[in-house]
């Protein structure tokens, strides 16, 4: 079943560049959907539309509809705060907040008004376990998060989004700065997470796209070139441009 339905979405930036042109796409529940393609294709723009983070940048015009559970999230009357709690995001560079590991994890919940110690502690343990980093940090929860390694920080960021119990997780090249071992851990965590969550991932390489995708969408210069199930798309792409990109002839 589609968790997210994107209908004819176009995004134009204030500087005149058009970043997405007429995208229509259904994103499956409890699966990993990969948005891939060369830089400037509009993948990140699409990702940032899904939790309205684009509101922060100078976007001139957005047209079309994005339905999450049937509700149009581009509607101006939408409660954006509630949307962002439902749609979590992990960024390319891990940004831990300047506070302890525990405080990083509980930050979003506290903003939402959760004060009960028991609930907060539960959320910390549950989300750290989901992000596969509990064992590494359970004895140092009250130390500064910045002291962790890059790979650990990125899993803290993942756990921090999970603490809000979102339904959808957006990841924008979450492993671009990580070594292969850390990358493996993040990818393994995602495979577990998809059982409960809808995951939209912008991978940092074609290889990662092929490894992780249940569904894949290939973007080129603001257009959706091809979309389909992961395995067939990577082994037997229908569009010539997809094939050339996967084979590394451009990009």
């Amino acid at each position: 079943m589609d968790k997210i339905t994107i209908e004819n979405l176009s995004v134009q930036y204030a500087d005149g560049t058009e970043s997405l042109r007429g995208i229509s796409l259904g994103i499956e529940e409890n699966a990993i959907t990969v948005l891939f393609g060369p830089a400037g294709g509009g993948k990140s723009t699409l990702l940032r539309c899904l939790n309205r983070l684009n509101d922060l940048t100078e976007v001139k015009a957005v047209s079309g509809r994005i339905l999450i559970d049937g509700e149009d999230i581009l509607d101006s009357r939408l409660d954006v705060i509630a949307l962002r709690r439902k749609v979590g995001m992990v960024f390319a560079r891990p940004v831990v907040l300047p506070m302890s590991i525990r405080e990083n994890l509980t930050y979003g919940l506290k903003l939402a008004g959760e004060k009960r110690r028991v609930k907060l502690d539960e959320a910390v343990e549950r989300s750290l376990k989901l992000a596969a980093i509990w064992e590494e940090v359970k004895d140092r929860l009250d130390t500064p998060a910045i002291a962790l390694s890059g790979g650990q920080q990125q899993r803290i960021c993942l756990a921090r989004s999970l603490a809000l119990q979102p339904e959808i997780i957006l990841l924008d090249e979450p492993t671009s700065g990580l070594d292969p071992i850390s990358t493996g851990k993040v990818e393994a965590a995602l495979q577990e997470l998809k059982k409960e969550y809808t995951i939209v991932l912008v991978p940092h390489s074609v290889q990662q796209a092929a490894r992780t995708a249940d569904y894949a969408a290939f973007f080129l210069q603001g257009e959706l070139v091809e979309y389909g199930e992961g395995k067939p798309l990577f082994t037997n792409p229908k569009d010539k441009r997809t094939e050339e990109y996967i084979q590394g002839r451009f990009g």
Partner: protein, 287 residues
Amino acid sequence: MNSILTRNRHLTQRIGYAIITVMAFATIIPIVAVVIYIFVKGWSAISADFLTTFPTNGMREGGIYPAIVGTVVLTLVASIFVVPLGIAAAIYLAEYARDTKLTRTIRIAIINLAGIPSVVYGLFGLGMFVLFFKFGTSILAASLTLAIMTLPVVISTSEEALRAVPQGFRTVSISLGGTRWQTISRIILKEALPGILTGVILGLERAAGETAPILFTGAVFFLPSLPQSIFDPTMALPYHLFVISTQVPEMPVNIQYGTALVLLAFVLTLNLIATVIRSRARAKRQW
């Protein structure tokens, strides 16, 4: 041929380095000289009595107690006005204002305000606070004048401190369902606070040392007792120094330099506090 060229380049490099080093040390000399000169000429006047008693015999004897109290009070009252106002303006400019022609103009105006001569602020304070608002020659009028003079410094340093906090913190906080104000109050302000404090202290330090703005608005030659409220005028260190250096015949030189030494110590102490805050914060900073 080639090796001669290389040798010449090395020589040029070495001469350049030497010149820059000498000039760098040369800049330190006047600062150190001022401190040493004032210290040597004024130290003999410093005593517990000098700091805690009123001047007597037409300022030629006794202490400078009321001037010290006056300067501390003027600085504190000015800070009551300038701190909330300056920080609020900085938050608006750094966190809320869009980058438009208007906000760019405001920013340029603020930077230029810092360059207005202090005597002009003094005249403005006289017209505005002493006469128009009828505060009279008073601590209130003088502090308000000092506050306005200090405002640009506080706003621009605070804005800089806020902008230095990494953008990523804001994006993350918003993406976790935070509002703009939650983000500012829970993360940004806390991280920018040392920088803001430094700016405030540097601003107040300038306020504490200025004569011209308080000359027409709140400072007086001599008072037999301490001011009782902010509507009374006060004595102040910089003005007192001006008076005893130019207006009192047969003034003992060591009292003049003693007064200068106290003022210098006050300002340098504020400076030291700012430096300590900054270096402590830098050591604790998590970004």
